[in-house]
Symmetry: C2
Subunit: 306 residues, 2 copies
């Protein structure tokens, strides 16, 4: 890879992608609204909703590769936010500017929310129908279809990495894993739903490595970025508690389960494993331990024996 441009570079996944790209690209250009992204990276403080600035930036950098991760991700908001529509517009504008300035390979972040969640096991769309139930999923799926059609027309190489459930350092503190870890590290009860629903969890550093490998490949179309294994949310919570040494503080069933939560969401990872020849570095225990360590350092909290 020559010149890689990455958007959402200061986000949860983006910042880990920067590290994963470091060994693969000769130049990395990080686009973020939030300032510098490290010494080895060219940082561009550009608002992707500013169409003129985006066009000027693409003309200046002329990236050969584009990893587009930026999107609305605010917990509790992003599923239904009207910002999703704005991100479709901004993403298409970015894509056209990329193509017009000589771009060759693009990877964008999709979501398991594009699938029909009643399916449980999500295969790439030849088998599992795409029937997003949220505006977020609708907008991601619409963007994917236009990306595919436009890439065919322009001779661009394009892939779409469908993210499932990530955890790890820098996750938003209100989300499941951080909120459980923070409670337990503070010796407070971790109040959860019953957590019987099974989900496919992947450590964010693995996800970032998969995206970097995908960008560096010529694999096209949708690719699930996931572990391929589902565990009950309750098992994740209990494992965190065991690692922290406070299983006594786990309160499963004290919160209601959100409406519409399907019992199972797990990815078919055939393309990731067999076509990209990629597999994760961290198993769940190693990934969770690494995440707890990060939160301890971040919060300056003591860790109980575990």
């Amino acid at each position: 890879m020559n010149r890689v441009m990455i958007t959402g570079a200061s986000g949860f996944l983006g910042r880990h992608c920067l590290a994963a790209l470091a060994g693969r690209a000769s130049e990395i250009h990080a686009v973020t609204r939030f300032g510098a992204c490290g010494a080895s990276t060219h940082t561009h403080a550009v608002d992707l909703f500013d169409a003129e600035r985006v066009r000027a930036l693409l003309g200046e950098v002329r990236p050969t590769h584009l990893l587009h991760l930026a999107w609305v991700t605010t917990p509790g908001v992003y599923w239904t936010s009207a910002e999703n529509v704005r991100w479709v517009e901004a993403s298409l504008h970015l894509l056209r500017a990329f193509a017009e300035h000589g771009g060759r390979r693009v990877v964008m972040a999709g979501s398991c929310a594009e699938y029909d969640w009643s399916a449980g096991r999500c295969c790439h769309e030849t088998t599992t129908p795409l029937r997003p139930a949220t505006l977020y999923g609708v907008c991601k799926n619409a963007l994917r279809t236009v990306l595919e059609g436009f890439a065919n027309r322009e001779g661009l190489s394009a892939a779409w990495g469908r993210i499932f459930f990530l955890y790890g350092p820098h996750e938003h503190p209100q989300r499941l894993t951080p909120s459980v870890i923070r409670a337990l590290l503070a010796s407070e009860p971790a109040r959860c739903s019953s957590g019987v629903q099974r989900r496919d969890f992947l450590h964010v550093e693995d996800a970032a490595d998969a995206f970097a490998a995908l960008l560096d490949s010529d694999l096209c179309g949708p690719v699930n970025i996931a572990s391929g294994t589902a565990i009950p949310i309750a098992a994740l919570v209990r494992r965190l508690a065991d690692l922290i040494g406070r299983p006594d503080l786990v309160r499963l069933g004290e919160l209601p389960t959100a409406a519409g939560e399907p019992p199972l969401l797990v990815a078919d990872v055939g393309r990731l494993r067999d076509e990209l020849c990629w597999s994760p570095r961290f198993d769940l225990d190693a990934g969770l331990a690494r995440t707890i360590d990060w939160w301890q350092a971040w919060l300056g909290a003591p860790r109980a024996a575990g």
Copy 2:
């Protein structure tokens, strides 16, 4: 209807929609790049790709109803043009601005190109799969899905009129019906493909009336705008020649049939007929005669006995 805004108002369909809307709306605001649209209409010469101007216009007019027809339609170009992507962006931006300024009811122009053309008979998507084969169809379909999701979120009332094959006054001279009429009126041979493929033709004034009725209703979701009857293209050509009185000039089979032309494309018009309670005014003979008359007046050509 109070204040209606119509885009693409100087286009083939749009100019007829202006006439069809005249009796229904208290104020009509026509958006076009090409100047005035008649005395009873407020005309706004605004480029829909100019996001700031669009936002300002919507804030100024505050339309209650939006009929969005504008799109790339250049014959031979629009199926694959990258402009299709730009129209997705512009349409979504327009939609958001409409909602933000109090808009209540929106109808957009879709296309039979969204359907899987191997189906032949195109029912609303519960039965016929949406599998567009062109960038045009991909972009229209992507826009539809986001419109639907966004309208649900915003409490907007939204419908999507899927256009099949229109003919009538003001059609682009390079398209089928005008090129046959022009050749025959000029006493030149009308060279055509074999024309065995059957298509669903509707007179453009009927289509415009259907769009006006749809905008004036509260019917939501996709609605095929078509006659519900398919005839071979060759039959259309022969009928034109009979009406003009020059069947001797018809040269069927002299041009190759374009690759990928399906044998049959016909609309299920159940929603149009039973839910909108709408039916066309013109049968094929009346519609074609009207079209020939218009071309004769336009070209100043003599009409042979027919």
